[in-house]
């Protein structure tokens, strides 16, 4: 049954006594670029945190390669699954190359601090994200878009087939949003399985190959964007009356909020 490398099984997720999701079952399909979307507080980031083992389900489980993710050594998990959190912290004055090198942590040890492999993989990750020219620069001097590519390079240096990205485009201007999403699409084409939480419905529809739409902690719809981005689903998930047209650039569904929506305010 588990063709899926990463899945939540009947999971109850929450913080303390606050329950966000109950009995949630989600399978991340292998080789797809999955985007989890939904309105604020729908539980999409909570689901991503659970998939990334940052949050342990109080009931149910999260399975990585068919086995409970919390029963596997966390370093072994880190060689299978990389995570770009929402707001990671760059240590003051750290250089691009040094930060990317941090991604090698799960492959290193106290007496294996910097192997030839580490050096090669870090250089490759910087080339793949087009930041090789910045390697000696301080991370704090970079633009928001460049900085996000540095963080993605760090996760790439982990060499994991699975990548989880928590709202990788938030706080970026539109140019840099597209730049980051194009990079994600490229990483997906190269064979990685990606899971991202995104806010922008149209970007989700354009870049995702598999969409998971959530509301009130539950999955409302799931499938290829062309199949599930319909006026009904959008209204059901976001309470937003809309029309769907073909994106003139990519042919993917494009959500146009209807003018009538304003009358309701």
């Amino acid at each position: 049954m588990t063709a899926s490398p990463l899945a939540a099984r009947q999971a109850t997720l929450g913080y303390g006594r606050t329950v966000i999701s109950e009995d949630l079952t989600v399978e991340i399909p292998e080789g797809e670029f999955t985007v989890i979307m939904g309105p604020n507080a729908c539980g999409k980031s909570t689901l991503l945190k659970a998939l990334a083992r940052m949050l342990k389900p109080s009931i149910g489980s999260v399975l990585l390669d068919g086995k409970d993710i919390h029963s596997q050594p966390t370093r072994a998990v880190a060689r299978r699954l990389g995570l770009l959190p929402q707001s990671p912290i760059a240590p003051d004055g750290i250089t691009v190359a040094d930060l990317v090198a941090r991604g090698r942590y799960p492959h290193q040890g106290i007496l294996r601090q910097w192997s030839a492999d580490d050096e090669r993989v870090v250089a490759e990750a910087m080339r793949a994200t087009d930041i090789a020219d910045l390697s000696g620069r301080g991370v704090d001097e970079l633009s928001g878009g460049q900085r996000q590519r540095v963080w993605i390079a760090m996760v790439l240096a982990q060499q994991t087939p699975l990548l989880l990205l928590d709202e990788p485009t938030t706080f970026l201007d539109i140019t840099h949003q597209i730049e980051v999403l194009d990079l994600c699409a490229k990483l997906h084409r190269e064979g990685r399985t990606l899971v991202a939480v995104l806010h922008d419905l149209n970007q989700a529809a354009r870049y995702a190959t598999h969409l998971i739409a959530m509301r009130d902690g539950a999955v409302v719809a799931e499938g290829a964007p062309a199949d599930i981005v319909t006026a009904e689903t959008v209204e059901q998930v976001f309470d937003l009356p809309c029309r769907i047209i073909d994106d003139p650039e990519s042919g993917t569904p494009l959500v146009i909020p209807s003018a009538r929506a304003r009358d309701r305010v």
Binding site: A52, R53, M54, T74, R75, A76, V77, A78, R79, L81, G82, L83, L84, P85, Q86, S87, P88, I89, A90, P91, D92, G93, I94, T95, A97, D98, R102, G103, Y105, P106, Q108, I110, L111, R112, Q113, W114, S115, A116, G136, R137, G138, D140, E141, V155, Q158, L164, D166
Partner: protein, 357 residues
């Protein structure tokens, strides 16, 4: 405009490193960290020699050497082996412990003010010491033991209150400040319930001092220090990754919870040993990691923080022994004044965001 390229140069010079590889093993030595560690080590050795040679009776390096190898006059040997070296050794070990615990607490709380003083461990040690001085009126040994118990109990309390919840540094800081406030109240109460003589002894202990310390105490602190260094060496890569935030560290495969608990316990034990023997020498745990960070740049080195802590205490103790107007001072007075002044100078001289982070 001439200063504009400076950050770039600083950043890239931090990154320079030499890698030693043998078979599957590799060690990466960052040039700046190496220079900072070797530099502070050299400064520490020089200062220690100077400290042994000077004091109320100036021996000079040559007489120190002969006394050290047992070929000097009896008087010189007495001064060196009975008076100066025990005090010097205690100061070195205490300073190193404080430098390490300060660096651990700053990493754990992700706060430039995170120190055993802020989190209440020092107050806890004080409570233990006050109980021993006031209630039992007992010897320095008992005071030392009870101070260690007080500090450890506070660390344990902080751990149990922050366990299970949100593991961020803020929670640690807030719980620590709360505990610190309660203990300050308790300590104030204890001081009002005593005779003027006991209160004077207590206040003297509260200032922190190294006079009259013997090799036994130095050895106790040194053993704790050695154990602490081993644990920190094992934890340091995980702690370094924690600087990227809890989420990123988890993603990299750091056992965040276990690493934090181990670091908290280690920092508490180091503080307990140091404060129990020397009293709460103000500002050492706070200032040492900041000064070390100035030296090592974007990388952190616990070793460098330990060396700087030892440097501060040794230097402060030399000033304390020289004294003011012919009177020796308690060491804690000097660490407070000098450490505080140095920190403020650091802030003014390097007015820049993040200098203390």
């Amino acid at each position: 405009m001439t200063t504009a390229p400076t950050p770039v140069r600083r950043a890239s010079s931090d990154a320079r490193a030499t890698v030693l590889r043998v078979g599957g093993y590799s060690i990466r030595l960052r040039h700046r960290v190496l220079a900072a560690v070797l530099g502070s080590l050299a400064a520490l050795i020089a200062l220690a020699m100077w400290s042994a040679a000077t004091g109320s009776t100036s021996l000079g390096l040559e007489r120190v050497w002969y006394a050290l190898i047992g070929q000097g006059p009896k008087g010189d040997e007495f001064i060196l082996w009975e008076l100066r070296l025990p005090r010097l050794a205690t100061g070195l070990a205490v300073g190193a412990c404080m430098g390490l615990s300060g660096a651990l607490f700053q990493t754990l709380t992700r706060n430039p003010l995170g120190s055993p003083d802020l989190l209440g461990l020092t107050q806890g040690a004080t409570t233990g010491a006050l109980v021993s001085i006031i209630v039992t009126g007992s010897s320095l040994q008992v005071t030392t033991a009870l101070a260690a118990v007080g500090s450890l109990a506070t660390g344990l309390l902080i751990w149990s209150l922050t366990r299970g919840g949100d593991p961020s540094g803020y929670r640690l800081v807030l719980v620590g400040i709360g505990i610190s406030a309660i203990l300050a109240g308790v300590n104030g109460y204890l001081l009002t319930r005593t005779t003027i003589i006991d209160a004077f002894r207590a206040v003297y202990w509260l200032t922190g001092d190294l006079s009259g310390r013997d090799f036994g105490q130095a050895r106790t602190v040194a053993i704790v220090l050695a154990a602490g260094i081993v644990v920190i060496a094992l934890l340091s890569r995980g702690l370094d990754s924690l600087r990227l935030g809890e989420a990123a560290a988890t993603g990299l495969g750091v056992r965040v919870g276990a690493t934090r608990v181990a670091a908290l316990v280690t920092a508490s034990v180091l503080t307990a040993a140091a404060v129990a023997v020397a009293g709460p020498l103000a500002f050492v745990a706070l200032a040492a990691p900041h000064i070390a960070a100035r030296l090592t740049g974007s990388s952190r080195s616990f070793l460098c923080s330990a060396l700087v802590g030892a440097l501060i205490v040794t230097a402060a103790d030399m000033i304390a022994v020289a004294g003011v107007g012919g009177h020796q001072l308690p060491t804690g007075v000097v660490t407070g004044v000098v450490g505080g002044a140095y920190l403020i100078w650091l802030l003014i001289a390097h007015r820049k965001k993040g200098v203390l982070s």
